[in-house]
């Protein structure tokens, strides 16, 4: 099972916090978006392992732009 973490606000990617292979907890900050000079944390709604980071610093984001793919593990 996979899940994608999408941008919740438009803007520029200010920082990518998560790294590929890292285990992410629910509620953890995985990236930061700069929207109108405000730094907004992108929070993971899931628990899982980072399979792929799709963005880098200064990429332009729209609402819903995919940012990170998580591997949620086996469905129980």
């Amino acid at each position: 099972m996979e899940a994608t973490i999408n941008a919740h606000m438009p803007g520029l990617v200010a920082r990518v916090v998560a790294i590929e292979g890292e285990q992410i907890a629910k509620g953890q900050t995985v990236a930061v978006i700069n929207c109108m000079k405000n730094e907004l944390a992108v929070i993971s709604e899931y628990e899982g392992k980072v399979k792929q980071v799709l963005v880098k610093e200064w990429d332009e984001m729209d609402v819903g732009s995919p940012m990170i793919i998580l591997d949620l593990g086996e469905v129980k």
């Binding site: 520029l12 929207c35 109108m36 000079k37 907004l40 200064w58």
Partner: protein
Amino acid sequence: MFRKLLIANRGEIARRIIKTCRELNIKTVAVYSDADKNAFYLREADETYNIGPANPLKSYLNIEAIINVFKKAGVDAVHPGYGFLSENYSFAEAVVSSGVTWVGPPPDVMKAIESKCYCREIASRVNVPIIPGTVTPVRSLNELNKVIDEIGIPAFLKLDKGGGGKGIEVIRDTRQIRDVWERVLRIGMVAFGSPDCYLETQVVNPRHIEIQFLSDSSGKCICLGERECSIQRRHQKIIEESPSPVVGEKERQNLYEYTRKLVVTMGYEGAGTMEFLRSEEGEFYFMEVNARLQVEHPVTEFLTGIDLVKCQLEIAAGEKLPMNQEDIILEGHAIEARVYAEDPVSFSPSPGKISRLQFPEMNSRYLRIDHAIGEGSLVSPYYDPLIAKVIAWDITRLEAIRHLEEALAAFQIDGIKTTIPLNLKILASKEYVEGDFNTSFLEELLKEGCEKN
């Protein structure tokens, strides 16, 4: 006067500069990023050039891309507006060395005054009061401990070349000294390329009051009244006005005298602002100089009838200021409300498309609205959330407040959230109406709101 001027900025200030250039028959060149390519204000410029992607580092802050436009367009002057590259002396130097006139203070002056310690040193040399603390950078943790023993806590450790509210840390407990020292040094190195910092005591419940001035190449300096800018949130100003409810003629003349001394000693030319803090006891302290046209300049223009952009252009063209200090008459009262594309309660940004827009009924004697928005405009997530400045004027402060309230209430903007409801709440508060406030006013007002709910 100039033939063709490039505006190294965007949005409402680009429009504002175009307006004056048109009156002076100066052709205008606007630059824009991909995000602004459909912005309607670009049609008001004589020529437009794309300078890169939405990311401001690659467009509006990209010195090389902007300098390249000089050659293509053949401009003879550059106006930087505010923000972006306006206080960047490397840009100013690059402009000057490509044979184009910089509409701003001389680059070497810009470079010198970037150091707050240099400004504090100049101020103390000419007997302009500064917030007690160190004048030269603190060189070691040992020295910092000694200074704190002398001036006491709470105190602020500030970066000499910081900005935008970054690199300012409060020390409330002597046990914090080492941590704060190390943190400020680190931020200085990473964000500003200099670890220099200085210490200031805390001014309790201060008001932020600034003096607008103009200074020409002959050394003539004219002051254009003060602006009261205490209504702010996290160093972001929300309401500005002139005159200040707490500045009488005697205080004003003192502030003018401080300003003139600082301007002459710095060798400053052009339009600028000297920022002061006023303590609860009514003492004024010089804080810093803003080497640019400011967002809130319309307040001063309303009171004096002077076009500050026109003066900037005349000074840059080497002309002498045509007026003297005694010609400056401050008439009535002007108040500016900044409208931000933000949620008025949570302050979270609200970019998007303006689906419907209706401006209040205009009467240029009492109302001015500086903006660069229209129905269908996109408010970009990449830049500052300021979308409009609503400025009201009348003979008395209370009448000015009333005009501003009416204008803001009649403003209709759909599709994005704006801070208009917050502006109205401020204007209706008892403390604001009575002129009884300081820089913590807004924080207190927001706290009250939460407690009532």
